[in-house]
Amino acid sequence: MEKLLAWIDDRFPLTKVWEEHASKYYAPKNFNFWYYFGILATVMLVLQIFTGIFLTMHYKPDTALAFASVEYIMRDVSWGWLIRYLHSTGSSFFFIVVYLHMYRALLYGSHRQPRELLWIIGVVIFIALMAEAFMGYLLPWGNMSYWGAQVIISLFDAIPFVGPALAEWIRGDFVVGDATLNRFFAFHVIAVPLVLVVLVFVHIVALHKVGSNNPDGIEIKKKKDANGIPLDGIPFHPYYTVKDLVGVIVFLMVFSAVVFFAPELGGWFLEHDNFVPANILQTPPEIVPLWYFTPFYSILRATNTDLVLALRGIVVLAALVALFKARGLSRLVALGMAGALLAALFMLDAKVWGVLLMVGSLLLFFFLPWLDRSPAKSIRYRGWMYKLALAVLVLSFFILGYLGTRPAAGPNLIIAQVCTLLYFAFFLFMPWYTSIDKTRPVPERVTK
């Protein structure tokens, strides 16, 4: 055995990799509940790829056959129903896990220096995952698949000048059709998964370069013993492999409970209207994307002329503040930006702003490491302002998510507009409230 290992090590750095990334990779010893979601996201990725391969063996990417082939999998393929439910429930759980993984970063400042690049790669993964889920949702060719894709692709129509041509280029047709289904299939089963796997690999490489953050938000590498081992670190293997195993099993129990006892989850994970084949002549009463898109969909729908009017007012207010508070060059820059923004707010249609705000609500995540000015990373040592801001973000995210499934009219619309503004306020006011927020002193070593 040892001889074999030596033989391999002469040709491939097996022992070296194992030690660097597992047995001698030191992770903080104070990980809590929120630190399971990285490994759980990895588990979900593997599960989705694995079940996806088996689904591909029976699925037919053809508008005349797709819907029936899914029912064929559900009825005639041995254990096909299980593979399909694992995959459909899996996509929802993947997003649950990823959202909680991102929330963990906001709690403990995992996006802060020196982990900015790690965070950026993570946001790219999140966006790639959304593309993956969106294209996968067309494949069953149910009526909601069809109309959901129709609505989202027609968003590109809003882009001035090139919009309609771009939307047509994406669809490969004037309406969502066979060409669309085939290309979405190609992207869903090979192009995007390939990108995802590479990005996840890079994400982990970047993580192991800088090391994990922890609930105290302090760098364990700053306090090392005589051998150069962090005093608050423990080897990833065996400590975290056995601990993560427990977490993975608990997660799988929750996951299985849904897969076996409520795979539709009352229409939240599998929509009722998607049990009707795609019908170009019959729009569902309400076109609703799956829950993981609804917060962003809500922002899109909330943006009407009233909201654009409110935005103009906000920009003018901001410009006034800059006029009186800022000095010299920064005042000039701020006023110039406000002028340009105001011009854009007058020139572009509310529909275009809807798309811009929806895209912006995602892109803002990229800037988070630089927007945050607090001396403390972890919420444990931050003041009430950040705690309040985070609570407002989470609350408005949930409300937007719920409203995305309801008709956008009346009070619903106004609430969605308020939540949209609150969502953006979390990011845009962050440099201000994190710099004046009163933090507590951060300890030298990790606490229990």
Binding site: E71, M74, R75, I234, K243, I249, M253, F275
Partner: protein
Amino acid sequence: MKNIFFILLCVVLPGTVFASGGEHARLDAVHIDLNDKESLQRGARTFVNYCLSCHSASYMRYSRLGEDLGIRDELVKENLLFAADKPGELMKAVMPRDDARQWFGTAPPDLSLVARARGPEWFYTYMRSFYREDKSPSGWDNTVFQHVAMPHVLYEWQGEQRAVHRTVKHESVVVKDGKTVKKLSEEKVFDHFEIEKPGRMSTSQYDAAMRDLTNFMVYLGEPAKLVRYRVGVFVLAFLAIFLVVAWLLKKEYWKDVH
């Protein structure tokens, strides 16, 4: 002060009236029990004898139905195969689609997934809510699905019923030429059914037959439901045992972490 109150009334009242107008038909609860094999078999018989003439269940095979419901192949062949030659075939409607489209103005939808798309309560209530309507081309209408093209296929069982509507009066206050005026509006709302010509079954017998049919439709929507719960219990039991072992292993390793 009074004026403000009336203005408020004007704003609020039309809203409430509008809300009641857009109401959906009330759906009746139905007890679904997929362990009740006999109920499923009775439902299957009704489905094959009546529904399958016009509607398909084209994702389902006769053989699978026989296997799941405990009906032997010979019995399937004798009693269920009117529209097919072999038990392995899919359950396609007897009536050609194009003919159906001509006769009814629309092709009868495939029913494999109707219980999943619309829900068992909808199906159960729909099947019991046909009533005589002379103005409709088929002579029938349905309170759950207005202006439905489908006639009441099971009228010989249920009999012919009449929909009794009641008038609901709405009172609203309107400001007219600076004066407040009370305005009355009327709306016809469905109240209950009355049997005009009795059928072969009593109301409770017909309800029971429709419950069996609904039970079968739920099975038809997802045959895997028969095994999914059972497998789920085993999976959860296995994971629970695995969890105990993994937990003990974790505790053992973490003893020296302080």
